[in-house]
Symmetry: C2
Subunit: 180 residues, 2 copies
């Protein structure tokens, strides 16, 4: 699409009958309704160890994360988390509950992070992953985690321990995801 | 914007480096990345009775619903649910937990429905509401509910009873939100 020179939706205005400013294209009149995006992912374990992936893409290339990404259209949240594990870690997971519902208002993300178990313990680096491995709790590279929500999810996973039912966690008190 | 005659993003193609078809504008080259939208709402009670609103807008004008609507940019899910109660029922609510996380894949919605209590028992019809009232369980107009997810949320509210902590419900088994 590099042969286009027009700006696309680039003018801020409140459309007729609306209550919020939206970006409108001055060339074609298209109104770009933006809403928060949903990230789905999972804290995945195998025999008590945690699966972490080192990101091959920005943002935060080279840092460690759990398998997670944007939910696609017409996909359930659980299926999206399973797809992300498949894409980023070439692994099949069994989800057993919703661990956390985190909000990062600055970037308008709602993250639904599940607790899951690898189905057969095999995994491999997908296209968006430099390397990946299973980590014992004490070996987690805390200073090299990609995002605050990964930090929260790992700690919340630890907090529920062996529980089979729990209410999902929200952001830690006072945290908005802008810093660890 | 009625003086525009161009089509906006109307051509389906897979952008360079992408994995999914997106709608692209043939006039300006804008790529319209569409993701699922988040609906936030709450089953709201006052002295054991449930607040229901009769919709003044389509879809499902004239049918009964709980206060709920689309999460806006830079808003937390809880704040969005509180805003919707304010807009549709002119009432302030105190949220005490996440009741359900429902997915309706056909229309690409993820709904985060909370359990809440009215703060002072006062309410009034907002612009999107024809009328509203508190209903005892046995008086709920089951045949005139607006959406399957409202039906699910009310039943899940009933199921948790007096519990103060619970795992959130998902869609009832086999239900995708296309029918009650």
């Amino acid at each position: 699409m590099s042969n286009f020179t027009a700006a696309g939706p680039s003018v801020r205005e409140i459309p007729d009958g609306d209550t919020h400013e939206r970006l409108v294209c001055p060339d074609c009149g298209f109104i770009n309704y933006e809403n928060p995006k949903i990230v789905v992912g999972a804290v995945c374990t195998w025999q008590g160890q945690l699966l972490l992936c080192r990101r091959a893409i920005n943002p935060r290339r080279g840092f460690w994360t759990i398998p997670a990404g944007f939910l696609e259209l017409h996909e359930t949240a659980e299926n999206g988390a399973m797809r992300e594990a498949r894409e980023e870690a070439c692994t099949e997971i069994a989800i057993d509950g919703l661990l956390g519902v985190y909000t990062v208002p600055r970037i308008s993300q709602v993250q639904l992070i599940y607790r899951a178990e690898l189905k057969d313990g095999t995994f491999d680096a997908g296209e968006e992953t430099l390397e990946l491995d299973l980590f014992a709790w004490d070996d987690i590279p805390w200073d090299e985690l990609a995002f605050p929500t990964v930090h929260w999810a790992l700690n919340h996973w630890r907090e529920i321990g062996d529980a089979t039912h729990w209410p999902p966690f929200a952001n830690p008190p006072g945290k908005n995801g802008n810093s660890f």
